[in-house]
């Protein structure tokens, strides 16, 4: 066990001192109108991922989220592509990324020509950026203490709380022991657990942060009359949001919770953190919190997670750009049916084949292999789903951006 906790591999050193496990070029489009061109530039290119924002009118939250992904430890260089008449400014994105010490370029499609000429130009830029980061990025030793791992669950069933999430909890305990950062989210799936959550706070300050995040989540759910539980959850045997919450919370393991971070904020130190992605009350009311699983995964990556975990009892076929996604199921039948997409069968805990401790250790081994470069299943399949939408969060620690 001790050798696993001190495992070391070669990472990519970024100017801010963080270390990546991949060395990617990220293409960012700034309006839906530029989406096709952005994807056409990335088509057929290795280690080139795409994200973008569909709205023409900009949004400070979305800008912060995209910048957090652009300055993510797994990203070495950025190309931002705009149409030319939208609010979100590709030039400002590129300038901000360049200020982080990464090469970044941008162009407007309207100033370049049409689809074909923009794709040709984009591919030339990407090839240049790629060559530069492969030549110039320093390689450094990396350990679990350099790693941030995020986790959420989706498509949950009765096994998620019994095996899938507890296995992640056992892994998170190991990661925290090794000095790493563990981030879990979905405060709307902690409904009913106020007392349980607060009892895990590491300090009075953390307790206050947890109480604020919990109270906002419950206020949000009451206000929009939407509780984070879906027909598939019910069909899988979950009956109430409180029941789902307990299963979801099992992914937190047993370590003290250091506090709450918000979207695009980084954990303020090692240990276990909760990510609050619930929108703040605003002139447009709350809007919607995570409308789908992918949106939540974006939030975890924005916290700097180099690897993210997704626990799904019923099965899912999503992946993610920027940080490899590892899919875990507590349901062995789901694992057998969807083995081409599932990375880890935690259902073996329920058959007695593995103890929870063994499962946590085995998951740690998989995560170290992934950190060393072995692609996760969604990564190998080419899944790069992303979802960035309008939202409002007061995030004083980060620049307000325009139209906060």
């Amino acid at each position: 066990m001790s050798d696993l906790l001190t495992a070391s591999w070669s990472g990519y050193l970024r100017p801010d001192g963080r270390k990546g496990i991949r060395n990617l070029v990220l293409i960012i489009y700034t309006v839906e109108c530029a989406q096709h061109v952005a994807h056409a530039i990335a088509a057929g290119e290795e280690d080139v991922h795409v994200i973008g924002f569909p709205g023409c009118y900009d949004n400070a939250y979305a800008i912060r989220l995209m910048l957090a992904l652009a300055r993510h430890p797994n990203v070495g260089a950025v190309l931002s592509v705009g149409l030319g008449c939208e609010y979100t400014q590709p030039e400002k994105l590129a300038d901000t990324v360049r200020a982080s010490g990464r090469p970044a370029e941008w162009f407007f499609i309207q100033q370049t020509g049409g689809t074909k000429s923009s794709v040709v130009k984009g591919k030339e830029i990407v090839a240049r950026l790629h060559e530069q980061i492969w030549k110039e990025t320093p390689r450094v030793p990396m350990t679990l203490a350099d790693l941030t791992v995020g986790c959420e669950c989706g498509g949950s069933d009765g096994t998620s709380g019994l095996a899938g999430n507890p296995t992640v909890g056992a892994f998170f305990d190991l990661l925290v022991d090794a000095g790493g950062r563990a981030v879990f989210e979905e405060t709307v799936e902690m409904i009913g657990l106020r007392g349980v959550m607060l009892s895990r706070a590491s300090s009075p300050d953390a307790k206050r942060q947890l109480a604020d995040a919990y109270d906002k989540a419950e206020r949000y759910c009451r206000s929009v009359r939407q509780w984070s539980v879906s027909p598939g959850n019910f069909a899988g045997g979950l009956t109430t949001i409180e029941e789902k919450s307990l299963g979801a919370f099992a992914k937190s393991g047993t370590k003290p919770i250091q506090g709450v971070i918000r979207v695009a904020e980084q954990p303020r130190g090692p240990g276990l953190w909760i990510l609050d992605s619930v929108p703040d009350d605003h002139f447009m009311q709350f809007g919607y919190t995570n409308p789908n699983d992918t949106e939540g995964l974006m939030d975890l990556i924005s916290a700097g997670a180099q690897i993210i975990l997704f626990v799904t009892g019923r099965g899912s076929v999503i992946g993610s750009p920027v940080a490899p996604l590892i899919k875990i199921t507590g349901n062995s039948a789901t694992f057998r049916t969807m083995e081409e997409d599932m990375d880890f069968d935690a259902g073996r805990v329920l058959t007695g084949e593995l103890t929870l401790t063994q499962a946590g250790r085995e998951l740690l081994e998989l995560i170290v292999r992934t950190a060393r470069g072995e692609p996760s299943k969604p990564e190998a399949l080419g899944h790069r789903e992303y979802f960035i939408m309008y939202k409002h969060q007061n995030t004083p620690g980060l620049a307000a951006g325009c139209r906060a």
Partner: protein, 110 residues
């Protein structure tokens, strides 16, 4: 082989099925191993009552209240949307028992 179910904490009054169970004997694993007779077919992932539960009594799983009984529940009965409601989510009682699909927005499908 008997169908199996898992009770997480000793104070839990429900256990989660690890196998699809026809009416009949279920082996309860976990906190207080025992054998009980289920009164009906219960699918994997769903819950079985470990004792008789009266209306408005809390349903306890993971040692925590996950809602309250809306019907008297007998030991061995399937515990789901028809007899357990959330304390918070007001749509919880309107969902289709088998698919979990909402029924209170049916009028919008026109």
């Amino acid at each position: 082989m008997n169908a199996r179910a898992f009770q997480i904490q000793p104070q839990d009054n429900v256990a989660t099925l690890l196998d699809d169970a026809p009416a009949g004997s279920i082996e309860i694993l976990g906190a207080s191993p025992q054998e009980i007779r289920s009164l009906e077919k219960i699918e994997r992932g769903h819950k079985v009552a470990l004792r008789d539960i009266a209306v408005n009594e809390p349903i306890i799983k993971f040692g925590v209240r996950i809602g309250h009984a809306t019907q008297p529940i007998r030991r061995g009965a399937w515990v789901h949307l028809h007899n357990l409601a959330s304390d918070l989510d007001e749509r919880s009682g309107t969902l289709d028992l088998h698919s979990g699909a909402p029924t209170d927005t049916n009028s919008a499908y026109v």
